[in-house]
């Protein structure tokens, strides 16, 4: 099986507080042949902490749940996009609703893709692949 991402070195980050959702996402990615390293975070604060610490300068792609304790997905998105060091990290929002207002908020905040959970686990691989095409451009020149 061919990896959907052109670079195996890109780390896939999953920010998801729901244990079941996290398992399902990871399995779908693995089923699709993804061999990249996967890191899972339980809330937004863990994600931000990782980018401030070990993840600084890492090439990565973030799957971000919206409804999380402590710091929610939309806040994480905004803070990543406001920081020059993380602004170019591709972000895919994952949510249980397709509320147009929420979709608009996320795109305004600079997310790359918005996916609704029950329908779209199958679409993850495809989405990652499409995003992967941008990765060579968006991942150059990290500070």
């Amino acid at each position: 099986v061919k990896s959907p991402l052109p670079f195996d070195t890109v780390t896939v980050l999953i920010a998801e507080d729901d244990e079941g959702h996290a398992v399902l996402i990871r399995e779908h990615l693995e089923d699709a042949g993804l061999a990249n390293p996967i890191l899972r975070f339980r809330d937004g604060q863990e994600v931000l902490d990782w980018f401030q610490g070990p993840g600084r300068g890492e090439r990565c792609i973030l799957l971000l749940d919206i409804n999380m304790p402590r710091v929610g997905g939309v806040d994480v998105l905004r803070r990543l996009k406001a920081d020059p060091g993380t602004r170019r990290v591709p972000v895919i929002m994952l949510t249980t609703t397709d509320d147009p207002a929420e979709v608009a908020v996320c795109y305004d905040a600079g997310c790359n893709l918005y996916l609704t959970k029950p329908r779209s686990f199958e679409a993850f691989s495809e989405a990652l692949l499409r995003l992967g095409r941008f990765l060579p451009e968006i991942q150059v020149a990290q500070p």
Partner: protein, 664 residues
């Protein structure tokens, strides 16, 4: 001088007619020549005697000299006009006296004369001819000094004339009656005008026979005055002879004149004054009735801000006695001290016409009275304000209705928000476990497919077992566990929604609550947890409120329970509960020194199913504070999470305070 000597003198004068010429030739200052017949008696008579011929003084006696203030000897030969005020007075006298004497009559008159020193005196002068019917042959002027009598007479005449003037021109009616027979003996024009009858008619009346006197009680009063000798007064409607009625003030004064008992009646026509007084009384009465019938409070405030008048309604509204309000400064009754200052600037120092605004007043028991006040200046004739009239309308009922309406609207909005939250929960929180159920069902299905395929394709049982093991031992039980847990989570959410829905629908029974007892009960059920946490709970004196006992107990339990649950392990737990009476509510503050809530999360704590740290050590359904807020609002109160200096949380719960009249 007796008649004999006078006749002797006259005889002598008549006999010696020739002496007249001699006298005429004498010059003043020459040695006096005693005429014939000028006896010693005449010389010393107590009557002033002048012997005059052709208007020249021949001789004057000692008494005449005393009266005229001259030396009798020096005056012989002087002209008689010397003693007159002026020539005209002398000519006048000479003409009249001459005429009388020539007509054979003596001349007698009081004449005002002048002494040599210039002073004047009154003399009663009698002129007689020395020779009967021949006054030109010489005259005797007898003279008495009657200055005292004449001046007294003149004074009397003046006084009488003044009295007459007073009586006739007085606006006061004057009537004089004889006490003996009751006949009217005097009436003045003012009395005629009042009675509306001519003087003659009134003078024919007798007060004892006048029906009007009897009707008006004047007869009785007159008898009393005459009997006691004391003046009597009365006031009332008098009906007169002519049928005219007037409001009169009468004075009956008994007195005695020349032995006769008289009754003086003074009457003043007070119809206009009475009517004005009556009108004023009527007007005042009208105002009094209106002011007391007002459903509004009314106060007059002087320019220093003190009450000069309050009506009973204002006293009733504010719970004070009217006497307690009099003289007090209006500022004492205004809740907001800053407004007192502004009101003073705005309304006491200028002319106001009908300004109106809402104002919170303090009742005697300290409770709030919501009012609308309308102001108008009371001005003097120059238009300068002298006081401020304040009309106070109790708008508590309207305000309460408005608040009820606002609460209703807020409640509706709250319901609406709840409904939206419900939809949000349905789409997010319910969907989240649903995603798991769907996802893990699919995974089960895939495992089943894999097993079915293995069953068909496996070479032998060993191979099947080896291939099937991961599915049977891990994936399928794992999937089932996720599905079961998701189902349980959905159940929990639905139960939470039902609980909230019940709290919103529960029929409330508001009653006065002893909050001290209520907090004691809640604390008692948490005593074990507090004790194990090495904690303490301190409670101040809590004022009573009016609310549903079950829900308030739930609110307090929740707050105390949270304080215990979210304590900080680093320090012993301390919880304090204090109370405070506000003008329209009672506040209860629950403070702890636990882990607290970061400022950025303070609003989210009230949202349904929000938990700050779901993975934290404390279990919870994310419903507690949502319920607490819901219940506080349903009871007509509110709850706030206050910002404060300490660690931990500080919740402020406000609930309706008991109505003023329900408190001791």
């Amino acid at each position: 001088m007796d008649g004999a000597s006078l006749l002797a003198l006259l005889g002598a004068l008549a006999a010696g007619g020739a002496c007249g010429a001699a006298l005429a030739r004498r010059r003043p200052g020459a040695a006096p020549q005693v005429p014939q017949g000028w006896s010693q008696e005449l010389q010393e008579a107590p009557l002033g005697v002048f012997l005059v011929k052709d208007a020249v003084l021949v001789r004057i006696n000692a008494q005449a000299g005393r009266i005229a203030g001259v030396d009798p000897d020096m005056m012989a030969g002087a002209h008689s006009r010397t003693f007159f005020l002026d020539d005209a007075a002398f000519e006048d006298f000479a003409a009249r006296a001459g005429a009388m004497l020539r007509g054979g009559h003596p001349f007698r008159e009081d004449i005002r004369l002048r002494r040599v020193d210039g002073s004047t005196f009154w003399a009663h002068v009698t002129c007689a001819p020395v020779v009967q019917d021949s006054p030109e042959k010489g005259q005797l002027w007898y003279m008495e000094d009657v200055t005292a009598r004449v001046e007294a007479q003149l004074d009397l005449a003046e006084v009488l004339s003044l009295n007459q003037t007073l009586i006739s021109s007085s606006p006061i009616g004057i009537l004089l009656f004889s006490a003996a027979d009751g006949a009217c003996v005097l009436v003045n024009p003012a009395a005629c005008r009042m009675v509306n009858a001519p003087e003659e008619t009134i003078l024919r009346q007798n007060f004892r026979r006048l029906p009007s006197w009897k009707e008006a009680g004047l007869l009785e009063l007159a008898d009393k005055a005459l009997k006691t000798g004391e003046e009597q007064r009365t006031e009332g409607f008098f009906k007169t002879l002519s049928g005219r009625s007037f409001w009169g003030a009468a004075q009956l004064i008994p007195f005695v004149s020349r032995g006769e008992r008289l009754l003086l009646c003074l009457v003043e026509d007070a119809t206009e004054r009475h009517a004005a007084g009556e009108a004023l009384r009527a007007s005042e009465e009208k105002h009094r009735v209106v002011v007391e019938a007002l459903t509004e409070g009314l106060a007059l405030v002087d320019l220093t801000g003190r009450f000069t008048f309050v009506n009973s309604r204002l006293a009733e509204m504010t719970g004070y006695a009217m006497a307690d309000l009099a003289g007090r400064h209006y500022g004492e009754f205004i809740l907001d001290a800053d407004r007192t200052f502004l009101l003073e600037k705005a309304y006491l120092q200028r002319r106001v016409e009908g300004d109106s605004f809402e104002l919170g007043l303090r009742r005697a028991d300290g409770s709030l009275l919501e009012t609308r006040v309308s102001l108008a200046s009371v001005v003097d004739p120059q238009g300068i304000p002298t006081a401020l009239a304040v009309l106070v309308t109790d708008i508590s009922v309207g305000k309460r209705a408005q608040r009820d309406r606002e609460r209703l609207v807020a409640e509706m909005e709250q319901k609406n928000r709840e409904l939206e939250t419900l939809l949000y929960v349905a789409s997010h929180d319910l969907r989240s476990p649903l995603v798991n159920i769907q996802g893990f069902s699919q995974r089960l299905a895939r495992s089943l497919d894999a097993l079915t395929r293995l069953q068909a394709e496996a070479a032998d049982l060993e191979a099947f077992r080896a291939e099937a093991a991961p599915h049977l031992q891990e994936r399928m039980p794992g999937s089932l566990e996720f599905i079961r847990a998701s189902g349980a989570k959905m159940d929990a959410i639905i139960n939470g929604l039902l609980t909230l829905s019940r709290a919103g629908r529960m029929v409330l029974r508001a009653e006065p609550l002893d909050m001290n007892a209520l907090v004691r009960n809640c604390a008692a059920s948490l005593a074990f947890q507090i004790q194990s946490a090495n904690g303490s709970l301190e409670t101040g004196d809590l004022p009573p409120c009016v609310a549903d006992p079950v829900q308030v107990a739930q609110i307090l339990s929740n707050l105390l329970d949270n304080a215990v649950k979210y304590r900080d392990g680093e320090r012993p737990l301390r919880i304090t509960v204090t109370g405070e009476v506000l003008p329209d509510a009672c506040a209860y503050v629950v403070e702890d020194n636990g882990i607290g809530i970061p400022p950025e999360h303070r609003e989210r704590v009230w949202e349904i199913f929000q938990r700050l740290d779901p993975q934290g050590p404390v279990a919870g359904d994310g419903l507690g504070l949502t319920l607490v807020r819901r219940m506080a609002e349903r009871n007509g109160g509110r709850i706030l999470l206050e910002t404060w200096q300490g660690p931990g949380c500080r919740f402020r719960l406000e609930l309706p305070r008991p109505a003023a009249e329900a408190r001791p």
